[in-house]
Symmetry: C2
Subunit: 325 residues, 2 copies
């Protein structure tokens, strides 16, 4: 009902809509209308009310209602279907569920808040309400499972472009899936897939972007390693605009990947990364070692040179830049 | 209730159990007992009945009741948990569902009949009631997604060993996932996974073995390309024994893979295959070409030599042996 009320008020932008007209439209009492208006105000809508004139919409909160996201979105397919949640455990889990039920390529899941937001390898991704982009996309690419890691790199490039365009900040990408600002994590990507050995059923690309989180959101535990666009910029950033830009960029990159291959995207990824030529500590399942990062392979693997001069591909593991050497 | 009745009769193997005792045990009427006995007979149990003596179990059908499978199964983990169905759409779909709900490594799903049995790339696998092994196993290996195709090859070796040991027939493996007898398909493997880019959530290895299907099961459409152990052997094969043997073999191979690597398993796979050195037609998504199969790579990919002498890895596609050349 509240979505309907907002639609009506939006249609009459800058004009008053009388309480009487709204009662007729929705078949509910003036008292009921008033209660809905109060709740909308609590959600951040700025609604003026005069007893003789009615109601007028002055401003909207920066929330990711599907109609807000769809208005002005110029993608072809990405975001054509939007599954929106005020609160959800995990957008990736929801997207996988929808994908299993047959949701179309390009469907997106967005939430204002994730209670159990997921990072890589089962880690937690802090996703407080109304502060970030907590997004998962369903893709059905006709590629082989071993090529799927390229989608993580591709999403990283889309996120970096978006942050630069919308927030005018210049991020760095840390292999495989982190976007950093001044060395602190501002965005992370979690790509999951369901596949046969030689065919992908579906891929879910999840991305979290810390947009308007404040220092008090992070607290002492996280403030040294995480940041937000608002903290770095010193002002709030429009989440709707950021989301629309990201969807447009990732759709463009995805189409380029399918039609022209991965070469140019990888080249751009290398320009965004802070890793090439650096000496790092690499932690794999059971052991760690020091190495210099030489390149990123076509497969998306890290090419490193160990201290004994031998070159090695790293497909999984952690890279620590912060070493005393 | 019928499972309980069978358990009681089994406990008193070769002895009569009186109807009166059964009434006491189960708290139901003699008429009800009699109806259950009639249904059990229809299911293939051979039960003798005399009015003064009661009931005696003379023989059991070859069905895959968990208690039949568990009796004499000497694996460590595989098959410790059995999810049994008289009829199911697809054991792989069911196994994926259980895995998402947290089912343990080694859990198996078996069914007497699959209504929508799945083959590779969405194809149908014909799975009529009581005639085959329609099995899916849940595995949680700590390997990277790109290594998962090795599990298909490993399962193929386990199936080949099992067919040789139990049916005394010598099958051939056709890359990537078919087991053939006299050039006709007797078994197929469908491996699916849910994964992040650098960690597997779970793998489901599904296998269908045509055990006791008769020529009339296949009909003219399938009889040229498919066969069963019973057709090749000229007699029925115990499905329980075959299933137990397969679980033991695949568990042994799986442990060898994790502890000693894939080398020896791949070497054995090469001995079972009919492909090495053969000239074949390879069909990939959009094109086909002729080539000679030179080797299988460590990754599980086919190494082929094209007519122009160039070598190529084939990770996905169809191999046709039946070419006019």
């Amino acid at each position: 009902m509240r979505a309907e009320i907002i639609k009506l008020l939006r249609k009459h932008a800058h004009e008053f809509v009388s309480g009487e007209e709204m009662c007729r439209c929705f078949g509910i009492s003036r008292t009921a209308i008033w209660k809905h208006i109060q709740l909308l105000r609590q959600e951040g809508f700025d609604i003026e009310a005069y007893s003789r004139k009615g109601y007028r919409l002055l401003g909207e909160p920066d929330c990711l209602f599907p109609e807000n996201v769809a208005a002005g979105l110029v993608t072809k397919v990405f975001g054509n279907q939007i599954d929106y949640h005020d609160q959800i455990n995990s957008t990736n889990e929801r997207a996988k569920q929808l994908a299993r039920q047959g949701a179309l390529h390009g469907t997106i899941v967005i939430a204002e808040e994730q209670l159990q937001g997921k990072g890589r390898l089962g880690r937690f991704w802090y996703s407080p309400s109304g502060t970030g982009i907590w997004l998962s996309m369903i893709l059905r690419p006709k590629i082989l499972p071993f090529e799927a890691p390229k989608l993580t790199l591709l999403a990283g490039v889309a996120a970096a472009r978006t942050i630069q365009q919308v927030a005018h900040l210049t991020p760095e990408i840390k292999w495989p899936n982190d976007i950093l600002l001044k060395g602190k994590k501002v965005s992370g990507i979690l790509t999951e897939m369901s596949a046969e050995m030689d065919a992908i059923n579906f891929v879910v690309v999840g991305i979290g972007i810390n947009v308007n989180l404040l220092p008090e959101h992070f607290g002492p535990e996280l403030e040294d390693i995480a940041t937000s666009l608002a903290i770095q910029k010193g002002e709030k950033i429009s989440r709707v605009q950021l989301l629309q830009c990201f969807l447009l960029e990732i759709e463009a990159l995805y189409e380029e990947f399918l039609h022209n291959g991965f070469e140019d995207i990888l080249a751009e990824w290398k320009q965004w990364t802070n890793l090439l030529g650096r000496r790092v500590k690499i932690t794999m399942l059971s052991h760690e070692f020091f190495a210099t990062i030489v390149d990123i392979a076509d497969s998306g693997a890290l090419v490193v040179e160990r201290e004994d001069g031998e070159r090695q591909h790293v497909v999984s593991g952690e890279v620590s830049l912060d070493i005393n050497a």
